[in-house]
């Protein structure tokens, strides 16, 4: 029979940096990221996996960090909003959010950015309906949905164009 354990040593790559240490098995990924790893981009909100404000990527998959045990990320990569910029510069998706004014209060933005990051990794060509379907689990109480969708579609188009140009 397996022996119970209440803490566990985990190794995870957080935004490219290796983190190794001991965590209680009941610690949620959101608490781990914010309080232990100092990454406060993911936000606490509904705690019901409905709003998406706490979204982070685990091995590229969007996960509600409020309801996922930190124990789960042992041996995996985790991307938070802090991991999107390059050398202090916003990445193209973050810049598109700025350009399209896809932010008002900003509370949901890190989750929106990470869900959109995962979508853009999976699909090259995006219609509004594709974005709406994929992002339907990320709520924006300010109602920035059209601007968010435009930002995501713009990035898809520009990445596609860059890809095409680089092949020519």
């Amino acid at each position: 029979m397996a022996q119970p354990f209440s803490t566990v040593e985990i190794s995870a790559r957080l935004n490219g940096e290796l983190w190794h240490g001991e965590v209680p098995v009941d610690e949620m990924l959101l608490d781990f990221l914010r309080d232990r790893a100092g990454l406060r981009g993911a936000k606490r909100s509904c705690q019901l996996q409905v709003c998406g404000a706490c979204t982070v990527l685990v091995e590229g998959r969007p996960v509600s960090s409020c309801s996922c045990l930190a124990y789960e990320v042992d041996g995996h990569t985790v991307t938070t909003v802090e991991g999107l910029e390059h050398d202090g510069e916003l990445n193209d998706l973050q810049q598109a959010f700025v350009d399209e004014l896809a932010v008002q209060c900003g509370y949901c933005t890190s989750g929106q950015l990470l869900s959109a990051t995962a979508l853009l990794e999976r699909r090259e060509q995006l219609a509004y309906e594709d974005v709406a379907e994929w992002m339907s689990g990320n709520l924006c109480r300010c109602g920035c949905y059209p601007a968010i969708a435009r930002a995501v579609m713009n990035v898809a188009e520009s990445r596609r164009n860059n890809h095409t140009n680089s092949e020519e």
């Binding site: 029979m1 098995v25 996996q49 689990g137």
Partner: protein
Amino acid sequence: MPSAFAMVAPGSVEEALADLERLGPNACLYAGGVELAMLLSTGVLQAEYLIDVKRVPGLNRLEWDDGAVRIGATATHAEVAADPGVRERLPLLANAESRLGNIRVRALGTIGGNLSLRYSHSDLLPPLLVHEATVVLATGAGTEELPVAAFLERADGVVPAGPDELRGTSERVGMRELIVAVRVPALSAGWRSAHVRAERLFRPPDLNAAIAVRGNAERIEAARIAVGCSAPHARRLAGLEQELPGMSLEEARRYLRRAEPDLVAALELQTDLLGSVEYKAHLAATLLARGLGDAVGGGT
């Protein structure tokens, strides 16, 4: 701060069963964590031990055998939805899996965890009922295979009443039982299907249904219909399945409009926060008519 619970990570189904027996009612199986972690973090549920079956090797495997797929209990919704074989041969299930919850729920949640909840609003139950799927259980006495409908019925007797009810519904089916797989036969040639759901934003569906038909718009030869959400658990509508053969699609639609009052009893509709009995019956008839049209008109 001390951990509120301890984790147990069995290396096999046999070990998990032994842990269940040893740790008794203080333990919950941890199969996906989507609901369980939420219940634990909000304090709705307390458990001394979580038995992590997600790490049991091979329990998430999808295997085809004799026209049916055996989906391991810890396969995530995203994995099932993306599986090429499921998409090609079980499009009804693939469709339901790709619409369940949201992208984050689908990434972590598992088919076994979902089934063990017996959540009446689950998007999976109507398709599984239409496919006449079975639940494969590992028990102390061996392996048992139950039709999904029987599994849901039996659950009513397993889930204890009172404050422990949540414990009973959370990712375990009983003291010494563990869902190890769901076996889903493909529909025979000539059957077409559709998954329909009515939802208000950000919530589980108000009503969902899975419909499979053989025939065409001029004549429905056979139908399988399952509805979720409104009854205590999802169910097949045997009466409707017997009535529809021989009808054209248009006749079936008219029949469904007339049958609205009958759906109240068939689905055990009740007035609650989601709407009145009359509203739900109308919603069910409308959704079924739409689903029939989708299935007959090409479907999936």
